[in-house]
């Protein structure tokens, strides 16, 4: 029972992990991108449609990444080059992304013969749990650690790589400097604009892969409108919970994944808590975390100082 619960929590947390990692990259570059939900939606459609057409898992992943990065590119052009308001640009990206995603999905459903879209056999098989000889057959540990679909492992690898990139490499140091104080970074000879573009787009791509998870796995390979369904907003929240650190995001998404599925595991006869309360939980916890972090005001676990403010070179 507990093992089952943990496995389900990992699965429910995986799309959140991708969204969170993508948003961490954005915010570390100094851009509060509220378009996560939109970028995930774009990734969901692109991944699903390419998977549906080509029956190739790798191509589907690449398409999802490209679609997310494309959404992020729109956002980056608006906020980095044209210095538009970040909140409004991000929200627009969300509305645009969800709209376009549903629109394209609806378009293909209308063209399909059966009136539904279902991923073909081969790709579904590729997305099934990876079976690792010996390890996957271990009792308990096998199910707990080695029974997942490729997305889960990809997510954890991405988190570790990002953590290494941000905190152990020069490039990561540079991008963190850009996020904290772009003017100082610029004076130190860091190419602020280029780094911002690269990180925002990479972040968008990672969000896109998280979207592909909701499009291709969550509903068992059948296309459903609005498949991201608010996860992007939870991811924005999780960034705070993870205090802008990729490795902490793994833990955070596990916790929030557990919140998402908790209602199926609580015995209702013993603890009569309504379902709606469980659905509310991730948002409630984030609100509390927000208040708590703002009360403590620790510099270490705070939003990058330059986040939300556009950088205009000639106004230093």
């Amino acid at each position: 029972m507990i093992v089952k619960f943990l496995v389900a929590a990992v699965l429910a947390g995986t799309p959140l992990l991708f969204g969170t990692l993508g948003e961490i990259l954005n915010e570390r570059a100094g851009h509060l991108n509220l378009g996560v939900e939109g970028m995930m939606s774009l990734g969901a459609t692109a991944g699903f449609i390419v998977g549906y057409k080509t029956d190739n898992f790798v191509l589907a992943l690449l398409a999802a990444f490209a679609a997310g990065a494309f959404g992020a590119l729109i956002y980056a052009v608006l906020t980095v080059m044209l210095m538009a308001n970040q909140n409004v640009s991000g929200l627009t990206l969300t509305i645009f992304g969800i709209g376009l995603s549903n629109f394209i999905g609806f378009y293909y459903v209308g063209k399909s013969a059966e009136g539904t879209l279902k991923l073909p056999e081969r790709i579904t098989a590729q997305m099934r749990s990876v079976h690792i000889p010996v390890l996957s057959d271990l009792p308990v540990a096998g199910e707990l650690f080695f029974s997942y679909n490729p997305f889960v492992y990809l997510g954890i690898i991405t988190a570790v790589v990002l953590g290494f990139y941000l905190f152990r490499t020069n490039a990561g140091l540079n991008i963190r400097a850009v996020g904290e104080n772009p003017a100082a970074a610029d004076a130190a000879g860091i190419h602020v604009t280029k780094l911002k573009y690269l990180n925002i787009m990479a972040g968008g791509g990672i969000c896109g892969i998280g979207g592909a998870y909701t499009g291709m796995i969550t509903n068992g390979g059948v296309w459903i409108s609005d498949c991201v369904g608010g996860l992007g907003w939870i991811a924005v929240a999780l960034v705070i919970f993870a205090s802008w650190k990729p490795v902490k995001a793994v833990f955070g998404s596990l916790v929030f994944g557990a919140f998402r599925i908790l209602k199926y595991y609580v015995v209702k006869d013993i603890i009569p808590i309504p379902d709606a309360f469980f659905d509310m939980l991730p948002f409630l916890v984030t609100a509390l975390v927000l208040v708590a972090t703002s009360m403590r005001q620790s510099r270490e676990n705070n939003q990058p100082a330059g986040c939300g403010i556009n950088y205009f070179r000639e106004e230093r």
Partner: protein, 358 residues
């Protein structure tokens, strides 16, 4: 160091005429981009745009539908305008709409036998209080601890949304409908009366439009909002109580959004549905921004968006394209307008063209 190939400089202020021309050009470019998108799908963009327009005006009923969509959108846009003028990022109109709807629905459901002249005003006040309190929460934490209001209001949206789900599944569930969890339809007495075929929410909207316009332009409090928005330090230096202004303004912002929720529940839906806000709180932010936080422009833009919304439902039935195309077009339009704002304030200078080098 060499001068960069392209750099950005501030430009002298454009005349209002030039600004308007630039915005119009952006709108046309946006429609062109949308048209190319439609063309790529193999449809005639003129036919689609034409259907959106004609579909919204084809009958009295269609126009009424447009007005109905517009009521909550306009009111919510006015609500966020107040907060945005103060540079307070109230992304929480969605939640404030919902709380207004919940508070007023309480009276609609359980006090339906009150005389209508008492009940309807009480419901309006309940909407004001519900939305206002929900707006006050983030303002309080912002003032007290500096809590980031963008993210906090965002979370409150979802908390409010699931509050409806809780009421629907539990205490307010309609016992007459055992199979399907929903909240009962309001009795006729608790529904907003109709004037010219549309519930009186449209009168609320027009009154609020005038109110917000006068408030921002001609009152001391409205002036204080814009000073706080420009610079909190300046406001403090000139002796304004910044915290009080933030709290007061956010209460009003939430309260106005609450009226939108009340009008939607008691006017259009005649029940408290979980889709009572239905993304209007987010679209309102786009509308307010496109309208440059100017009530007059907001009126026009919310009308255009409502036409787009209604027209795209006709496009769905005529062409088999999803109504989501309204969202796509709204997004494209805002992308272009956001981009064009840049050219109002700045310009690009290509290396060597400007001579001076500074």
């Amino acid at each position: 160091m060499r001068e960069p190939f392209i750099r950005t400089v501030k430009r002298a202020e454009l005349s209002p005429k030039q600004t308007a021309a630039l915005r119009l050009a952006a709108l046309l470019l946006a429609l062109t981009a949308g048209g190319i998108f439609i063309l790529c799908l193999g449809y005639n963009p003129f036919a689609i745009y034409g259907t959106i327009l004609s579909g919204s005006f084809r009958s009295g009923l269609a126009i009424q539908a447009v007005v109905k969509i517009m009521i909550s959108l306009l009111i919510a846009s006015l609500a966020v305008t107040l907060a945005f003028k103060m540079q307070f990022w109230n992304i929480g109109a969605e939640g404030q709409i919902i709380m207004g709807a919940i508070f007023s629905s309480f009276f609609a459901l359980f006090c339906a036998n009150w005389p209508r002249v008492v009940l309807i005003p009480v419901m309006v006040v309940a909407g004001v209080v519900g939305g206002g309190l929900w707006g006050l929460i983030p303002a309080f934490f912002k003032c007290r601890y500096g809590t980031n209001e963008t993210l906090f209001t965002l979370m409150l949206n979802y908390i409010a949304l699931y509050l409806i789900a809780f009421l629907r599944d539990g205490p307010w569930r309609d016992p007459a409908n055992p199979g399907f969890a929903k909240i009962a339809t309001f009795e006729k007495n608790a529904q907003l009366p109709k004037v010219f075929g549309v519930h009186i929410g449209w009168i609320f909207a027009l009154v609020l439009l005038a109110f917000v316009w006068v408030y921002l332009k001609y009152t001391k409090q409205g002036y204080e909002i814009s000073v706080v928005g420009e610079s909190q330090a300046t406001a403090r230096y000139s002796g304004m109580n910044v915290k009080k202004i933030i709290l007061r303004t956010m209460f009003m912002s939430g309260a106005i959004a609450g009226i939108a929720g009340m009008a939607q529940a008691a006017g259009s839906d005649a029940t408290l549905a979980s889709g009572v806000a239905g993304g209007v709180g987010f679209t309102a932010i786009i509308v307010a921004w496109l309208g440059n936080l100017n009530p007059g422009s907001i009126f026009i833009i919310s009308a255009l968006f409502s036409i787009l919304e209604k027209g795209s439902s006709v496009v769905q039935s005529n062409f088999g394209l999803s109504t989501d195309c309204a969202d796509v077009l709204q997004g494209i339009i805002l992308f272009f307008i956001l981009g064009c704002e840049f050219f109002i304030r700045y310009k690009f200078v290509i290396r060597g063209k400007d001579g001076a080098g500074a």
